[in-house]
């Protein structure tokens, strides 16, 4: 035990401690990076083998399709398919795998089957911003509202405000997000007619000139309003309940009582002592929430006919546009992995215990 250590050994222990802390901190970052890379690798590999080895191999299906549609010979159809899928179908599997990974590494995701010649990356570049915009805005709104209400609920524990908000939060967070979307359409757009559902389809109004003009900014918010509202309603309950419970747990911590005994002001305690510690776990929760919101985007965008990457994914599956589908899915995974990585690193930066605690 270091408790009886002389000043000298304590000083040495101090140096050691800092040395180790730095070492483990480095490993923490390193580990997170490694895990992120592993996830990307895992998903891309999974996709490669799905595309290549499944019984209803999409490449073979496409080849037959080309043959019947354009009455091409098998060889012609095959070479055309190969170029579209960016694969050399004659090479051994492992070579195909390596070249596939190489292509991905260079950002080449192949070209779309349904609009031949259009690179998948171009389609993604066109639609992804809308998804990022709508989900990003929704998450920011949802976190701000949820955290604020969660703290209020915790401080008004068991009061009527807490009871009503808790019930609402439990209800909205247990209903599937597209059900919330349907309810929004039914009530907001159809029964109450607050919005013209036909006009808010798509991500912009036809003919509007993109630019930093008030009209354009209003227009994109107008079109994204219903998806954003759905995402917010579907996720805000989670933030409310999590923040409420975290705050309650933190309020019971000894250090909060001690802070009060120390005569700290209520403001200081609520922010630096309760708030900061209660919000810490939210950083990790954020990545998890993002994965489910991003996943939900496929249904929500389809429901509102909002033209983002989720709706492209669904359309590509319906039209069996494999390269596009693969690209969309990789973008989804990449976004979630990136968010995970960023939150992990933020967490390590915000919580001093992580640097010592290593991975677990």
């Amino acid at each position: 035990m270091a408790t009886v250590a002389t000043p000298q050994t304590q000083a040495r222990a101090g140096v050691n401690l800092r040395h180790w802390a730095r070492l483990v901190w480095d490993t923490y970052v390193f580990r997170r990076l490694l895990k992120a890379l592993f996830t990307i690798w895992f998903v891309t590999t999974l996709l490669f083998f799905l595309v290549r080895l499944m019984p209803s191999n999409p490449i073979e299906i496409y080849i037959t399709e080309l043959m019947s549609q354009y009455s091409l010979s098998y060889t012609d159809a095959r070479s055309q398919a190969a170029s579209l899928f960016a694969l050399d179908l004659d090479a051994p599997l492992w070579q195909q795998y390596i070249s596939y990974m190489g292509q991905l590494f260079h950002g080449n995701l192949g070209t779309s089957l349904r609009s031949p010649g259009t690179p998948v990356t171009a389609i993604i570049a066109q639609f992804l911003p809308w998804t990022v915009f709508s989900i990003g805005t929704a998450l920011i709104i949802s976190v701000i509202i949820g955290v604020t209400l969660g703290i209020i609920m915790a401080y008004r524990r068991e009061g009527w405000v807490d009871n009503i908000l808790s019930a609402l939060a439990s209800i909205t967070s247990s209903i599937p997000n597209y059900i919330i979307g349907i309810l929004i359409i039914v009530f907001v757009a159809v029964q109450w007619r607050w919005l013209d559902i036909a006009r808010v389809r798509g991500s912009t109004s036809p003919g509007i000139v993109p630019g930093f003009t008030p009209e354009f900014i209003f227009d994109i918010f107008y079109h994204a309003f219903l998806p954003i509202l759905t995402y917010v309603l579907a996720t805000v309950g989670f933030w409310m309940l999590t923040m409420r419970n975290n705050t309650l747990a933190t309020l019971g911590e000894d250090y909060v009582t001690v802070a009060r005994a120390r005569g700290l002001s209520d403001n200081r305690i609520a922010t630096a002592y309760v708030g900061r510690n209660a919000a810490l776990p939210l950083v990790t929760a954020f990545a998890i929430a993002l994965a489910s919101v991003v996943g939900g985007a496929a249904v929500i965008e389809e429901l509102f006919r909002y033209q983002g990457i989720g709706s492209v994914l669904v359309q590509s599956v319906i039209q069996r546009d494999y390269p596009l589908m693969q690209g969309c899915f990789l973008v989804f995974t990449f976004a979630v992995v990136l968010a995970n990585l960023i939150t992990d690193l933020c967490y390590g930066w915000l919580d001093p215990r992580i640097r010592l605690g290593g991975g677990e």
Binding site: M1, A2, T3, V4, P7, Q10, A11, A13, G14, L17, A21, E253, D254, Y255, T257, V258, A259, R260, A261, R262, G263, L264, S265, R268, A272, Y273, R276, N277, L280, L350, D351, P352, R353, L356
Partner: protein
């Protein structure tokens, strides 16, 4: 500085008393009813004096301690009583001050070190920042000065200041954290320091260090000390006076040696393993046989009577008041003479040793 209410004049309190507790009662609201956790407690804490509050768990000693800084849990309220605090010309009744005055009173006048310092620190702030927070809450503060004072205090509690001052709490061991908390409690030079079980949950060597540190600090800085413990050996080492609590009230209060060598209450005697129990077992006991009474619906008369070998009918009739049983020694027992005679006959107490050890 609050002026005492008209119908409640400031009482006669000797000038060397820093805190005069008068008829303090604390109730807890529980599902079954009101728990009378602290009942009519009165005592004076003198300047530079140390009082040990002893008693088994659930006797109300921690509640009393937290009531002194008004940090009771939500379910508890001070039903009646006064906490007269004085520092020179400043006088206030802590029970009756504004929230802001109370905030200023805490830590600057009366610091309380809670049981289990393991989690006493905000895990995401460095020790130096938490010290700065503390000073800043009580007035203008200078970061460098706070740091200097903090390091000085850390040295006084036998820690390596250079290493500890910028550490995060999790980088320190339990015993180190306990000492950091003690150092921090002295940051604002309070008149009173309350320690709740300062040594439990620590290993023996750390306990030793902390007791030594406390004794040294007390002579160096001259604060008054109230410490709550169930460990009588700690009480014997640190206390000038000992107060025994039972069923929410002080049943005996006297100089430490008198309490040990010539207790006036059978419960105190039981705590120092010197008394036969109801069942007549004479072997060494870790505590007094039987369980503490129900504080929602306490038995009539002396609350200790169901467990007391000396109880007579009169004990079951009225609850005895504290009465002198020796020089500056009070006990709430009508059977003191019988108890002492019996203990003396069996050679279990040694009044002649009072004053010889110290």
């Amino acid at each position: 500085m609050p002026t005492p209410a008209l119908n409640d004049p400031w009482p006669e309190i000797p000038s060397d008393v820093v805190l005069a507790v008068r008829n303090l009662s604390v109730d807890y609201r529980a599902r079954r009813g009101l728990v009378k956790a602290v009942r009519n407690v009165s005592f004076d804490l003198h300047r530079a004096e140390s009082i040990a509050l002893v008693g088994e768990s659930g006797c109300g000693k921690t509640t009393l301690g937290t009531a002194l800084v008004r940090l009771l849990v939500k379910q508890a309220t001070i039903r009646n009583g006064h906490l007269y605090y004085q520092r020179g010309e400043r006088k206030m009744d802590v029970v009756d001050i504004s929230p802001e005055e109370l905030r200023q009173y805490r830590w600057a006048e009366c610091a309380m070190v809670f049981q289990g310092a393991q989690n006493a620190f905000n895990p995401v702030l460095r020790i130096s920042d938490q010290m700065y927070d503390t000073v800043r809450a009580h007035g203008p503060a200078n970061k460098a000065e706070v740091r200097k004072r903090g390091m000085e205090l850390l040295r006084m509690v036998q820690l390596d200041p250079g290493r500890v001052i910028d550490a995060y709490p999790h980088e320190l061991s339990g015993g180190m954290r306990q000492r950091v908390l003690i150092a921090m409690s002295l940051l604002l030079d309070p008149q009173i320091l309350i320690l709740d079980e300062p040594t439990t949950a620590l290993d023996v060597i750390t306990q030793r260090t902390i007791i030594d540190v406390l004794r040294k600090l007390k002579t160096q800085l001259g604060f008054s000390l109230i410490f709550i413990t169930h460990d009588l050996s700690v009480a014997a080492e640190l206390a000038d006076r000992i107060a025994t609590m039972y069923a929410g009230t002080i049943i005996e209060l006297g100089p430490a040696d008198a309490m040990f060598y010539n207790p006036g209450h059978p419960y105190t005697a039981g705590l120092i393993h010197a008394v036969p129990t109801v069942t007549g077992a004479y072997e060494e006991l870790t505590s007094v046989e039987g369980s503490p009474p129900d504080l929602i619906d306490p038995p009539p008369g002396c609350k200790f009577n169901p467990r007391c070998a000396y109880a007579i009918d009169a004990c079951r009739a009225d609850e005895p008041m504290l009465a002198p049983v020796g020089p500056s020694h009070l006990a709430a027992c009508i059977r003191t003479d019988a108890v002492r005679a019996d203990l003396r006959e069996r050679g279990l107490i040694h009044p002649e040793q009072i004053g010889m050890v110290r």
